[in-house]
């Protein structure tokens, strides 16, 4: 715990120094100095406005992650484990995957309106693809001997799913989740550009538009914080749920 805190502190220090260097180099007002931004950030931490933004962004990101994971992880399991299903669905995935999802905005607005639903759906869609590809690839790499093991006990497809596919794919699902934390937060930046005046993405955009770089960096630091929290949460969940990963001769 203490070690973890020390490490974080050291990393933040180094990042701060790098930032300071960049700020000195950039000269003009583009990049605020880290100490200025940090003081402002700490001060912002004491305001309700910041936490309101943080909460709406967190709500959108977390809901979207849950949604994306809930849909794409099972789908990835099925695609990874059945060549037939994969043969049918894989071309769908990689023909539609590269489409910049932001162009689907009209369709989403039409379907889900201007509120949080369309924002969450957009994040979930982008995340979902990543969870899908990671899970599918992970499942395809499972050694066939484990299927034989369960089948030899008379296990049905359902048992193969529950006893082999899910536990073996779980670490890959967590990789996807870790990847997703960053993506979700980054996508926030785009979906919070319509029909909202709350959220860290909105704050960044708004401050950027008025060249209020200190406020912009409060938003960026807030995103960083949100991402780190989500990332650590994913780590924690994985440690709890994949304890077997660390078994073996030491």
């Amino acid at each position: 715990m203490v070690k973890c805190a020390v490490r974080y502190a050291a990393v933040i220090l180094v990042l701060g120094l790098l930032w300071k260097g960049a700020a000195l180099m950039a000269g003009s007002g583009v990049l605020p100095h880290p100490e200025v931004a940090c003081i402002a950030f700490v001060r912002a931490l004491g305001t309700g406005g910041f936490w309101a933004d943080f909460a709406s962004s967190a709500y959108r990101a977390v809901t979207a992650m849950v949604l994306a994971w809930g849909v794409a992880f099972p789908l990835g399991l099925v695609m990874g484990s059945s060549r037939r299903v994969d043969g049918i669905l894989a071309p769908f995935v990689f023909l539609t995957y590269p489409i910049p999802k932001i162009v689907l905005l009209p369709v989403f607005l039409l379907l889900f309106g201007l509120g949080d639903v369309s924002k969450i759906a957009m994040i979930a869609l982008i995340l979902g693809y990543q969870v899908l590809v990671t899970t599918r690839d992970g499942v395809r790499a499972i050694h066939p001997k484990y299927f034989d093991s369960v089948r030899s006990l008379g296990g049905s497809r359902r048992h193969i799913l529950l006893e082999v596919l899910v536990p073996a794919a779980l670490p890959h699902g967590f990789t996807a989740l870790r990847l997703g934390t960053g993506v979700a937060v980054a996508v926030l930046f785009f979906v919070e550009s319509f029909a909202t005046m709350h959220g860290l993405g909105y704050r960044i955009m708004d401050a950027w538009g008025r060249m209020d770089y200190v406020n912009m960096f409060i938003g960026i630091l807030g995103m960083s914080l949100l991402g780190a929290v989500l990332y650590e949460a994913a780590n924690f969940l994985e440690k709890r749920m994949c304890r077997w990963m660390s078994a073996g001769r030491k």
Partner: protein, 290 residues
């Protein structure tokens, strides 16, 4: 019978929308039985998309985007001019960074200028060039769609000049740059407010209520401008250092763009492949009103 009408109105966080904000804050719309809900968008793209998806009943935008939307079959009409170029109160112009702050127009031949194609920015750049007798290739045009990035590139000296809206032009000046040319005396409507067709029905009853409430806001704003400084700073993206002293503009009383002005814009759009032919004015303007 002042039945309550809900109008979801898409706006951008720009200066032009200040009267709308005032009208909402002061309850002028509510008094007129209009439940106007301002939906803010960070950029025109999302606003247009929402408009096309039928999620908005009203809309703030420039004439170019308006014409495009109408051409796309969005059932809306121009309700009134939101901002008109006014001498002394520029809204768009060409700014140069601190490195070129001393440069005159003549020095800027061949200088790079950041703009955004197929938008009001290009239209104004063309019109300004025409007015000052500059050839279309007088500047080396570099497309940078996102305004914050354009601004930053200007400040970093990666662009010699950029076409920018207010209050960013003032910000450039504040940071040591300069404004070279503005569109302030071109005498043209830049931005308009539009409403869904249905509000013009019944001889424009609702439309008139809307316009009256808006007119009240404009008056009010002209009388006690300082009262709305805070509102302006919050909703119109005024950079913090400018906020205390930024002039509060005078906005035109409700009026419509003239047919000639609409034709001018449409001709430009035709020349730039954005329109095949002029649209009849009846499609753009309210017809049987008053």
């Amino acid at each position: 019978a002042n039945e309550n009408v809900t109008i979801r109105f898409g706006v951008l966080p720009v200066l032009d929308t200040l009267p709308m904000q005032v009208a909402v804050q002061e309850g002028f719309f509510a008094d007129a039985g209009l439940n106007v809900e301002l939906v803010s968008f960070a950029s025109a793209l999302e606003r247009d998309t929402a408009m096309q998806a039928g999620l908005l009943d009203g809309y703030f935008g420039d004439l170019i985007a308006t014409c495009l939307l109408v051409r796309q079959g969005v059932p809306m009409r121009i309700a009134l001019t939101s901002y008109r170029t006014t001498p002394g109160s520029p809204m768009f112009g060409i700014a140069v960074g601190s490195g070129k702050a001393e440069a005159t127009l003549a020095d800027l031949r061949g200088a790079s200028i950041g703009y955004s194609r197929s938008t009001i920015m290009e239209y104004l750049l063309d019109r300004i060039s025409e007015k000052y007798g500059l050839a279309p290739d007088y500047f080396r045009r570099i497309e940078v769609k996102k305004i914050p990035i354009r601004l930053q590139m200007l400040m970093d000296g990666q662009l010699d000049a950029a076409i920018l809206p207010e209050p960013l032009m003032s910000l450039v000046e504040y940071k040591g740059g300069a404004v070279v040319l503005t569109a302030e005396d071109m005498d043209m409507p830049l931005t308009v407010l539009c409403l869904h067709e249905r509000f013009f029905a019944d001889e424009g009853r609702i439309y008139r209520r809307f316009a009256d409430a808006y007119a009240k806001a404009v008056e009010h704003l002209a009388e006690t401008p300082e009262k709305y400084r805070g509102l302006m700073a919050r909703t119109c993206r005024i950079p913090p250092p400018l906020a205390p002293k930024y002039p509060i503009y005078r906005y035109p009383a409700p009026a419509l763009p003239t047919a000639a002005e609409l034709d001018d814009v449409q001709d430009w759009m035709i020349a730039h492949d954005m329109l095949k032919q002029r649209m009849p004015h009846a499609r753009l303007l309210p017809g049987n009103v008053r």
